[in-house]
């Protein structure tokens, strides 16, 4: 097990380097001039050149990358934004909790929807419940996240006025007119729903299939042959096994979800990592882009590691091999 973990950690390191390098390379392939963007349209060639030097853009690319790594490892700093010289660490760390709120709240919501519907559909195949949940699945998977977000925003937020349209409220203290848990949740209901529908759909289908398969397993038949009541069979034998793969999927999907968060944050005006990524891409702000990439990659790697360990803990076949 330890060997396995060490190997995963080493691979994680390799992955991290690969991702950051690729980001750098892509950035420098795009024909745009961040120095010019930084100093504005009407700048003179000299000021552009000065800006370029100041930002370190006149050094060869590998050198820039090496400096980036050095700064990251030794100073633990992601540098300063090209556009407004803000400390990238601070900006990223400010945006992160917002994205986390969206993602984690979305996860809880989608599991709360998917688990009961998935399990019940599996227990009553071809019933009305099952058929309607499959329709829901179809819609959820087919409808683009953007479309769902906009529709919800328009109908529930604007037309019906049940929830606010946009904006984020801090969980803890008030800022800009709203604060505290209730405001926080209230502002996030629509983003959570938007975000969760797609994943809920995917998970309903997966849970349904897993539970149906597990119900046919030989060991479930053995449990019934022992005289176990149906509830115990479900709890102890069926669900325990059927939901194992859900754990792994969840870990991977939380990682992917970060990507989906971009749409949700943009539509609902939430100043999270997604919005930050979009902004920094528009202004070719390399340190900020790298900052978002580094942070997201770290999160995904950590999540996947946690899932791997968790899987080994709950499945004795992996733990003891």
């Amino acid at each position: 097990m330890i060997r396995y973990l060490i190997r995963r950690l080493l691979w994680a390191g390799v992955l991290f380097i690969a991702v950051t390098i690729v980001t750098y390379v892509i950035f420098f392939i795009i024909p745009a001039d961040p120095a010019r963007l930084a100093v504005g349209q009407r700048a003179t060639p000299e000021s552009v050149a000065r800006a370029r030097h100041f930002l370190g853009l006149d050094k060869p690319v590998p050198v820039q990358y090496a400096l980036f790594l050095k700064r990251l490892v030794i100073d633990r700093s992601l540098g300063r934004s090209f556009t407004n010289r803000q400390d990238v660490n601070t900006v990223v760390l400010n945006a992160a909790p917002i994205t986390a709120s969206v993602v984690l709240g979305g996860v809880i919501l989608w599991m709360a929807i998917a688990l009961p519907i998935g399990i019940l559909s599996a227990l009553r195949p071809r019933s009305l419940l099952d058929r309607s949940s499959m329709v829901f699945v179809l819609i959820g998977i087919s409808a683009p996240v953007v479309w769902i977000g906009l529709i919800l925003q328009y109908s529930i937020g604007y037309k019906l006025g049940w929830t606010p349209n946009a904006g984020y409220c801090n969980l803890l203290n008030g800022q800009g007119g709203c604060g505290g848990p209730i405001d926080w949740a209230y502002h996030l209901i629509l983003p959570w729903t938007t975000f969760a529908i797609l994943f809920a759909a995917i998970y309903v289908r997966m849970i349904r299939a897993n539970v149906m398969d597990t119900m046919n397993e030989d060991y479930v038949r053995t449990a019934r042959a022992k005289g176990a009541p149906e509830a115990q069979v479900m709890r102890s034998h069926v669900l325990r096994n059927a939901l194992l793969p859900v754990v792994t999927m969840l870990g991977m999907d939380i990682g992917i979800a970060l990507g989906g968060a971009i749409f949700t944050e943009t539509i609902f005006g939430l100043p999270g990592l997604g919005k930050l990524a979009v902004q920094s891409l528009e202004s070719f702000d390399l340190p900020m882009i790298e900052g978002v990439v580094v942070f997201s990659t770290l999160c995904i790697i950590i999540f996947n590691l946690i899932v791997d360990v968790l899987y080994a803990v709950i499945d004795p076949r992996i733990r003891l091999s």
Binding site: R3, I6, R7, L10
Partner: protein
């Protein structure tokens, strides 16, 4: 042209087990085959019997060069094919074909039966399209199927019929040798008889040579001329069929014979039973010296677990690898335990 069609000498196949964080290092190996030698003469059937882990399927694949042997030699029709390239192997493949165990998995469900049977003919360019079609229909008839079903898919046939398709496929190129890897294990008893009769008939008609692998001793006895018993990657005993079943020399063969259930209650009651202890050990860590020593009723400490057992000959074409071969047969378990001094060679 010699009588020996297939000669296998000291065949070994080890699958590496690797561990390591970054660089994978081999720490152990699964010794699926650990020194197997035998010959198959033209026109005869060699039955190969053994339980799980004995290496019989691995051996089949090594003979056919579907796996590359780790050591030893395979000589087919006078030619050493152990290490030749895949390109050089291609013409040889026309001479040796295989019939597989699972009639449901060994036929491509998306291809029509005519294609499945004729594919080898096409690959080896043995005739024009029309000639191949005619040959395939001929084969369907030979194996007892309707030639009009040329265009059907495998799922339209029953298990027994699918196995007949497998036989037709093997026959298509007129091979010299057919390796049958448990061809009737997955079939019902009544269908099993159909396939066994078919294989026998075809052998007589086309002068085929079979290597017939099975775990059912009754089936092997019915179809084989000579029988080889394998245990954990080695050959325990090889003999002519009647010899093996009436006068086995290796204790494992004895145990196998007494363990096979016989459909005759009276005979079953009279029979002397030898029940082995323990399970078949893993080929990753096989027991030292004689592989069978941990379960053998005749185990002699200091001999069987330290000295490799010699191959003893018992008259014409009967060999057993044992320090204390059985003196007579049948024996009870108690009699088996009372082994005398190791027989001097």
């Amino acid at each position: 042209m010699s009588d020996e069609l297939l000669v296998v000498e000291n065949l070994k196949k080890h699958f590496p087990v690797t561990r390591g964080i970054i660089f994978q290092k081999q720490v152990a190996s699964v010794k699926a085959l650990d020194g197997v030698s035998f010959t198959v003469n033209r026109g005869e059937t060699l039955g190969v019997v053994g339980e799980s882990g004995c290496g019989k399927s691995t051996m089949a694949r090594c003979i056919m060069r579907l796996l590359d042997p780790t050591d030893g030699t395979v000589t087919f029709d006078g030619r050493d094919i152990t290490r030749i390239s895949q390109a050089e192997m291609r013409p040889v493949r026309r001479e040796m074909m295989m019939i597989f165990q699972d009639p449901y998995a060994s036929l491509n469900p998306r291809k029509r039966v005519g294609f499945i049977i004729g594919e080898a003919l096409e690959v080896n360019k043995m005739g024009s399209g029309a000639e191949i079609k005619r040959r395939v229909q001929e084969l369907l008839d030979i194996v007892g199927l309707n030639p009009e079903h040329y265009n059907r898919f495998p799922h339209e046939f029953s298990g027994g019929q699918r196995q007949r398709i497998g036989v037709a496929r093997a026959l298509a190129v007129n091979p010299k040798l057919i390796v049958c890897d448990e061809p009737v294990s997955a079939l019902d008893v009544s269908v099993q008889a159909q396939i066994l009769n078919l294989l026998k008939d075809l052998q007589n008609e086309f002068n085929l040579t079979y290597v017939f692998i099975a775990h059912d001793l009754n089936v092997v006895r019915h179809i084989s001329d000579r029988v080889m018993v394998m245990y954990l990657g080695t050959v325990a005993e090889v003999a002519g069929r009647d010899q093996l079943y009436s006068a086995p020399k290796h204790p494992y063969t004895g145990a196998l014979l007494s363990a096979v259930p016989v459909p005759d209650p009276e005979l079953g009651r009279r029979r002397k039973r030898i029940v082995l202890e323990g399970d078949v050990p893993s080929p990753i860590n096989p027991p030292s010296a004689c592989r069978f020593h941990p379960r053998c009723p005749r185990f002699h400490e200091g001999v069987c677990d330290t000295v490799d057992p010699p191959v003893r000959e018992f008259g014409d074409d009967h060999a057993a690898t044992c320090h204390y071969p059985l003196e007579s047969w049948p024996l009870t378990e108690a009699q088996m335990r009372r082994a005398e001094e190791p027989v001097a060679n």
